[in-house]
């Protein structure tokens, strides 16, 4: 059997120093298999996005070991290493309004990674990736403000895909979208994963999204992983931690918990 594609061991990230030291990620270990969708769940400030930022290289200040495929991730990357990482891992952010440059057309946004990596056939690549995310090639001349929220998130996904990475890090990719648009984007992400044989780490606070997309998930609180479980175990209520149960039931709505508390 092949070793897992993503291996994170004893990852630690802290901000500030002295009295103000915050351990955002405090010794986290997990592995993700090739082709798997791994969910990270938790409330704001639990460290789930910080893990993605460390993995993607956005935050070079971390301790521990991280590896993707054959590559051990270093702290200070040389330009060559950074370029190689860009072809391995890409990230999609929550807010498509914030992640695209407002004065760049779709084409300019997609062109940037192509020119940084010195790739050829840019026009063909842009056209292909736009079609792949379900947009007509004519969209290349549009500015972000001429796109709907769902179209913008499709462009952000296209930009992540254009270097043909093996791993996508998805940080709340649909929580800024309406539910009907969310369904379209989740379907698109499933379809792309199947076609491109991608591996995802999906950060979300929505158990519906996690259960729909993932095979396994880790529940985080205060910078540590409380437990790792499979989605069938989650749905069947086979969780080890009361906190996981609380989060899961809270996501279902209001009344049920109220009755439980009233009867307790």
């Amino acid at each position: 059997m092949n070793p897992p594609l993503i291996r994170v061991h004893d990852l630690r990230v802290s901000f500030g120093s002295g009295d103000r030291l915050t351990r955002a990620v405090d010794g986290v270990s997990f592995t993700v298999e090739q082709g798997e969708v791994f969910g990270l769940v938790g409330e704001s400030g639990c460290g789930k996005s910080t893990i993605l930022r460390a993995l993607s290289g956005l935050n070079p200040d971390w301790q521990g070991q991280m590896a993707i495929g054959e590559r051990n991730l270093g702290h200070r990357r040389t330009r060559a290493e950074a370029l190689a990482m860009g072809r391995l891992v890409q990230m999609v952010f929550q807010d498509p309004y914030g992640s695209l440059h407002p004065k760049h057309t779709v084409e300019t946004a997609l062109m940037e990674p192509i020119s940084i990596h010195g790739l050829d056939q840019s026009a063909r690549r842009i056209e292909r990736v736009l079609v792949e995310v379900g947009l007509s090639p004519a969209f290349r001349y549009r500015y972000p403000h001429q796109l709907s929220g769902g179209q913008r998130q499709r462009v952000a996904i296209a930009r992540a895909l254009i270097l043909s990475p093996r791993v996508l890090l998805l940080d709340e990719p649909t929580s800024a979208l309406d539910v009907s648009v969310q369904a379209e984007i989740l379907n698109l992400l499933s379809e792309i994963r199947r076609i491109e044989n991608l591996t995802y780490i999906l950060v979300s606070h929505d158990f519906g999204v996690i259960a729909h997309m993932c095979q396994r998930l880790a529940v985080m609180n205060h910078g540590v992983i409380l437990e790792e479980l499979t989605v069938p175990d989650l749905v069947a209520g086979r969780m080890a931690h009361a906190y996981t149960r609380e989060l899961y039931e809270a996501s279902a709505g209001y009344t049920r918990r109220l009755e439980e508390t009233a009867s307790a």
């Binding site: 409330e43 704001s44 929220g149 309406d178 539910v179 009907s180 969310q182 369904a183 379209e184 989740l186 379907n187 499933s190 606070h205 929505d206 158990f207 519906g208 999204v209 259960a211 729909h212 997309m213 989605v231 989650l234 749905v235 609380e246 989060l247 899961y248 809270a250 996501s251 279902a252 709505g253 209001y254 009344t255 049920r256 918990r257 109220l258 508390t261």
Partner: protein
């Protein structure tokens, strides 16, 4: 219903004249609200927030608001001028917005803001206002009211900030509360405790609550009655508990497109918008 409604809305429209024609944000909206929790659900741009703002006459200056009837208790809001509205806002109709970070004054302590709300609307003295504020903070389950009274908004968490907003809105004892996505910025576990406080206070004080949200699950479980808005119109109105059995294709489409842990599907059904929903 023997009691006349708290709020009676009929034929409400909000439109924005622009160079490319008139954008109609709210079209022919109508409902009557009693002592109940009424949910207004819809996607972004459906007109749900604009409806809430139109009731308080807080629409942008470029908006044209028309209605056959817009009555709050015995007051005709359509005829009320800005001066009259200032006496209604906060005093008789309160509004809770999504993010307490932006709704609270950052350079005033929490206690001062809440007691100011009381003093202005009740013309009370400082000591009485302070006592009432501490009691109100206690009512929204803030554990150490005397300590929180002297804190600044940046020193409290999001959940506590939203409870402070609720305290500030309830202290003048309004008849109607409009809550626009009051818990969307909060974590799920905090969300439940804030909703529980809102639920208890609304029931105990016999208020009417308009709860504006995009979250179908939440509205179905929290409210008594739900209006579903699409493109500025109410397409369906039903008791909240009946929401899973909604019949309008738009409501059905929204419900279907929600990923649910208990019903795994390889592909989520995508909503196909029927132009007929705009008018039918």
């Amino acid at each position: 219903m023997a009691e006349p409604p708290i709020l009676d809305v009929k034929g409400l429209s909000v439109s924005f004249p622009g160079p490319q024609g008139v954008v109609r944000a709210v079209r022919n909206m109508g409902f009557a609200l009693g002592r109940e929790k009424l949910g207004i659900v819809g996607e972004s741009g459906s007109g749900k927030s604009m409806t809430g703002r139109a009731i308080l006459k807080l629409t942008p200056p470029s908006a044209v608001v028309e209605a056959e009837r817009l009555r709050f208790r015995d007051i005709d809001l359509l005829a009320a001028d800005e001066r009259a509205m200032r006496n209604i806002r906060g005093d008789r109709i309160g509004m809770i917005l999504q993010d307490p970070k932006y709704a609270l004054n950052p350079v005033q302590t929490v206690g001062r803001q809440i007691s100011e709300a009381f003093r202005i609307h009740r013309r009370a003295g400082g000591r009485e206002a302070r006592e009432r504020t501490l009691a109100m903070l206690d009512a929204v389950r803030i554990r150490n009211p005397a300590r929180v009274f002297d804190l600044y908004p940046h020193e409290v968490s999001g959940g506590m900030g939203q409870r402070i907003m609720i305290a500030m809105m309830l202290i003048p004892e309004p008849d109607l509360l409009i809550a626009d996505e009051p818990t969307s910025a909060l974590d799920v576990t905090v969300r439940l405790s804030v909703l529980r406080i809102l639920d208890e206070l609304v029931s105990a004080r016999g208020l009417g609550l308009i709860f504006i949200s995009h979250d179908l699950n939440l509205v179905a479980t929290f409210c008594d009655r739900v209006l579903i808005m699409y493109a500025g119109r109410v397409v369906e109105s039903l008791p909240a508990a009946e929401l899973p059995r909604a019949t309008h294709p738009y409501t059905r489409g929204l419900l279907e497109s929600l990923p649910r842990p208990d019903r795994p599907r390889p592909v989520l059904p995508v909503l196909t918008r029927d132009p007929a929903w705009l008018d039918a």
